[in-house]
Amino acid sequence: MMDFLKRFSRNRGALIGLIILLTVVLLAVFAPLLYPDSPWKMVQRPFLPPFSTDGFLLGTDTLGRDVAAGLVHGARVSLIVGLVSTLVALLIGVPLGAFAGFYGGLIDDGAMRFTEFFQTIPNFALAIVLVAILEPTLPTITLAIAIVSWPPVARLVRAEVLSLRKREFVDAARLAGLSNTRILFGHVLPNAMSPIIVMASLMVATAILLESSLSFLGLGDPNIMSWGYMIGAARTVIRSAWWLSFIPGVAILLTVLSLNLIGEGLNDALNPRLARKGR
C-alpha cells in the first residue's frame, strides 16, 4: 500500500489530476453551502459576462441565472452520474466476466455472445434510444449509460480471470478444498482489482462525457442542473455569449482530464511492470 502511494505520488500528472478532482468533489459536496439558492433561480440581468459583476464571478446565463452556481451544482450531477453508472456497469460486467472466465465452456460462450451482442449495437445510439424510451430522468440516464458501458468491463474481467485462474495459487486453493465461489471471490477477483479500478476511473470519465452528450441532444433530466445541460442550453447563444458554453465545457474537460490522469497514475502504480519510465 505504501509502495502504491509512493509510486502514485511520484507521478506528477496523477497528482495534478487528483488535485483537480478533489476540487471538483469539494465544490460538489459543499455546493449547498456555497450557493444555497437553487441554481435555476434567475438572479440578475441575463448575459452578464464573467468577471464583470461583483457576486457573479462567472456571469449569468440566458435567463439571468448564476453560472457559477450552475457549475457547482452541476458538478454533483456529473459526479453522481459518472460514479453511479460506473458502479452499475461494474455490477453487471464484473460478475458476468468473472463467471465467464472462471467457469469457461458454455457459460463463457453464452456470456460472451451476450456481450458481443451489446457491442454490436453502436453504443451511443443505444444510449439515445434507451433514454428516449425511458424518458430522461437522472436514474434512467444513469441506467442507460451503465447499459452501454458494461461490455468492456465484462471482457476485461474475463481476460483477467482467465489468466488468474491458471495461476498456481488458485490450484493451491482448490487443493485446500475451497469451493468455486470462494476461490473466485476470495482469490481470483481480488487480484483482478487493479485493472478494474483503472478501467473504472476511465469509465467515470466516459460516463460524464456521455451524460453531457445526451444533455446536449436534449436528453437530460430537466429538473437537474448539469454541465451538459448548460452547454446544450448555451449552444443557441454560442455566437453572442460563447463563454456560456465554454465554461461548462472546460469544467467537463478538466474533470474528465483529471480522471484520465488519475487512471493513468493508478495504472502505473498498480501495474509497476508496465510503468512508464523517464518520468
Binding site: 424518458e135 430522461p136 430537466p222 454560442i238
Partner: protein, 514 residues
C-alpha cells in the same frame, strides 16, 4: 429600424405592382425540420406548407389584415344569407405537367380528396352541403347553414388544390406521384436530396405575366439551430423563416448589416402560446390555483428575455391579431403576493404539479424553466417532465400532465382556431388538439355554437366578447403569449412576405434587387 422601412416598401410593392422588379436569381430558404412529404393535400405540417406553398395554391390568399385576395379564383360572391359561395376561376391556369386546371379539379380536391385527408378542413366542410362546378371556371359551395368563418378557409394550407387527373381513383396516401408533387404554383418540384435540400425551379407556364421572378428556390435542411444561424451569416441561405433560429440569435442576426426582418406573415395563424391546465384532477382542477398560476407568472420577462421582445403577452383566448378579440377582460399582471393569497385561500397542500414543456427547442425549454421558477417562488412545488415530441403528444392526448405547454394556430377566426380548445364536445382522449384541459361549461358551448353561425360580424363580436370575459375569469388554460416569429432575410430580397401566411404562401412575388 430597417424592418419598418422594408414593411412600408412591401406595402408599396403591393400597391404598385408596376414598379420594375428584377427577374432572375436564386433564393435559399431554411426549412426545419425536413418535411416528411411535399404533398400538401396529405401533410399539412409547418415545413411541408413552407415548401409546398410554392407548388400548390388555393382559391384565395389573405392579406396581412386577413382580407381575402384573388389567387386561383379571380373573383367571388357570397350570397346575402351566407348560404352560397360562388368562385370564378382564373383562366389559362396549367398544372406543372401541362394539364389545364379546371373547376372539376376544385370539386375533386375539396369534396373527395381533402374531405378524406384533411382533418382541419373536414370540420369546416361539415357546414357545406354541396360543391358543384357549373362550368369549367365556376365553383359553387352551398352551405347547410351560415358559417361566418368559411371565407377564411380558402388558404393554400387549408384547401390546397390537387390534380384530379393524377389522383382520381387512386389510393391517395400511397400514390407514387406524392414524391413528385404536381401543383399550379409558381415553382415546380425539381429534386429532393433527402437530408440536404429541396430544389424548386420556376414554373414557366405560370399564369401571372413575368412571374415568378426568381429562377429557382432551394429549401435547405440544416438540423441544428446554431448551424442555421451560421448559414445565414455566411450567406449560404438568404431567408430564415420564423422560428428557424433560436430567439437569441434573432437579435444578433438582425443587427447585422444588410439584414432585414419582419414580424408579418403570421396573422392568419396567430400562434397563441398557452399552457393547458388539467381541469379534471390535481391542484389545477381548482380555479383558485389556476388563477394563482396566472398571477405567479412573469410573462413580460418571458417576452423580453426569452422572446427578445417579440410578441405580446396574451390576455385572452383570442389573439389580438384574430378577428373578434377584446381587451375588456380581467388582466393577470404578475403579482406573487396575490398568488400566495389565492393559494392560501384554496388551502394548497404542496402537492407537486408536473410541467410538460414543449419539446420544440431551447426557447420553449427555457420558458418552462422560467415558469417553474415563478411557480416555486410563490410556493408551488413543481416537477419538470422531460419528453420528446412523441411523448409530449401522447401525454397530452392521455391527459397525463398537470400543466402542459403548447401553442395553437387561430386561423383568423375564433370559430376555427379557438373554440376547439374549450368546447365540452371536444373532450376526448387520444388527440392533443381538442379540449385537452377538460374544461366543461355547457353555457359556453352554446355561446360558441351561436357565435360560429352568427349572421353578422357585429352579432358575432358581441357573443365572442362575452365568451372571452367568461373564459378569462375561469382560466381553464394559462394563456401566455401571442408569439411572433420574425422572418429574417437579406435586404435585397423584396416582396418576400405579402400575405397573412407569409413565406408559406411561396415566393410568387419575391424578387432580388440586383
Amino acid at each position: 429600424m430597417k424592418n419598418l422601412v422594408t414593411a412600408s416598401l412591401l406595402s408599396l410593392g403591393l400597391a404598385l405592382p408596376a414598379m420594375a422588379q428584377d427577374a432572375g436569381g436564386r433564393l435559399d430558404i431554411v426549412v426545419q425540420p425536413e418535411p416528411p412529404s411535399l404533398m400538401l393535400g396529405l401533410v399539412q405540417n409547418g415545413p411541408t406548407q413552407l415548401v409546398a406553398g410554392d407548388i400548390y395554391e388555393s382559391l384565395l390568399r389573405y392579406d396581412t389584415d386577413l382580407n381575402p385576395q384573388p389567387s386561383l379564383a379571380e373573383s367571388w360572391e357570397i350570397s346575402d344569407d351566407g348560404m352560397t359561395y360562388t368562385f370564378h376561376l382564373r383562366e389559362g391556369v396549367k398544372w406543372h405537367d401541362g394539364e389545364p386546371f379546371t373547376a372539376e379539379d376544385v370539386v375533386f380536391s375539396v369534396d373527395t380528396f381533402l374531405r378524406e385527408t384533411h382533418a382541419r378542413l373536414r370540420v369546416s366542410l361539415e357546414h357545406v352541403d354541396t360543391i358543384t362546378a357549373p362550368d369549367d371556371h365556376t365553383v359553387v359551395f352551398k352551405m347547410k347553414n351560415p358559417f361566418g368563418p368559411f371565407i377564411g378557409v380558402f388558404e393554400a394550407g387549408t384547401m390546397p388544390m390537387v390534380p384530379k387527373h393524377i389522383y382520381e381513383g387512386t389510393d391517395f396516401a400511397t400514390n407514387p406521384a406524392n414524391n413528385t408533387p404536381i401543383g399550379t404554383g409558381p415553382f415546380k418540384f425539381e429534386e429532393w436530396q433527402k437530408g440536404s435540400y429541396i430544389h424548386l425551379v420556376k414554373h414557366e407556364d405560370y399564369y401571372l405575366d413575368g412571374q415568378p421572378y426568381l429562377d429557382e428556390v432551394y429549401y435547405r435542411v440544416i438540423p441544428d439551430a446554431a448551424s442555421r444561424a451560421v448559414a445565414f451569416e455566411n450567406g449560404e441561405v438568404d431567408v430564415l423563416p420564423g422560428g428557424s433560429v433560436e430567439n437569441w440569435d434573432v437579435k444578433r442576426l438582425t443587427e447585422m448589416d444588410n439584414v432585414c426582418s419582419t414580424g408579418k406573415g403570421w396573422e392568419y395563424f396567430a400562434p397563441h402560446a398557452m399552457a393547458w391546465m388539467n381541469n379534471r384532477e390535481g391542484p389545477t382542477s381548482d380555479k383558485l390555483f389556476r388563477k394563482a398560476v396566472m398571477y405567479a407568472m412573469d410573462r413580460e420577462f418571458v417576452k423580453d428575455v426569452i422572446w427578445n421582445g417579440f410578441g405580446k403577452v396574451a390576455t385572452s383566448p383570442v389573439s389580438s391579431k384574430t378577428n373578434f378579440y377584446t381587451d375588456d377582460t380581467v388582466m393577470y399582471d404578475q403579482d406573487p403576493e396575490k398568488a400566495k393569497e389565492l393559494l392560501a385561500e384554496m388551502g394548497y397542500d404542496g402537492t407537486p404539479v408536473r410541467i410538460l414543456p414543449l419539446p420544440y427547442g431551447e426557447t420553449w425549454q427555457r420558458w418552462a424553466e422560467a415558469m417553474k421558477q415563478n411557480l416555486e417562488e410563490v410556493g408551488i412545488n413543481v416537477e419538470m417532465v422531460a419528453t420528446d415530441v412523441a411523448g409530449w403528444n401522447q401525454k397530452q392526448a392521455e391527459w397525463d400532465f398537470d400543466i402542459a405547454f403548447t401553442y395553437l394556430y387561430q386561423y383568423g377566426d375564433p370559430a376555427l382556431g379557438v373554440a376547439r380548445s374549450y368546447l365540452s364536445s371536444n373532450i376526448a382522449k387520444g388527440s392533443p388538439w381538442n379540449n385537452v384541459a377538460g374544461y366543461d361549461n355547457p353555457e359556453l358551448d352554446e355561446m360558441f355554437a351561436e357565435a360560429a353561425v352568427g349572421a353578422t360580424p357585429e352579432a358575432r363580436q358581441e357573443i365572442y366578447t362575452k365568451i372571452q370575459q367568461q373564459l378569462v375569469d375561469d382560466v381553464p388554460v394559462a394563456w401566455l403569449l401571442e408569439i411572433e416569429f420574425p422572418t429574417i432575410y437579406r435586404c435585397e430580397v423584396q416582396d418576400l412576405v405579402t400575405t397573412a401566411i407569409g413565406v408559406n404562401d411561396g415566393a410568387r412575388d419575391a424578387w432580388i434587387k440586383q
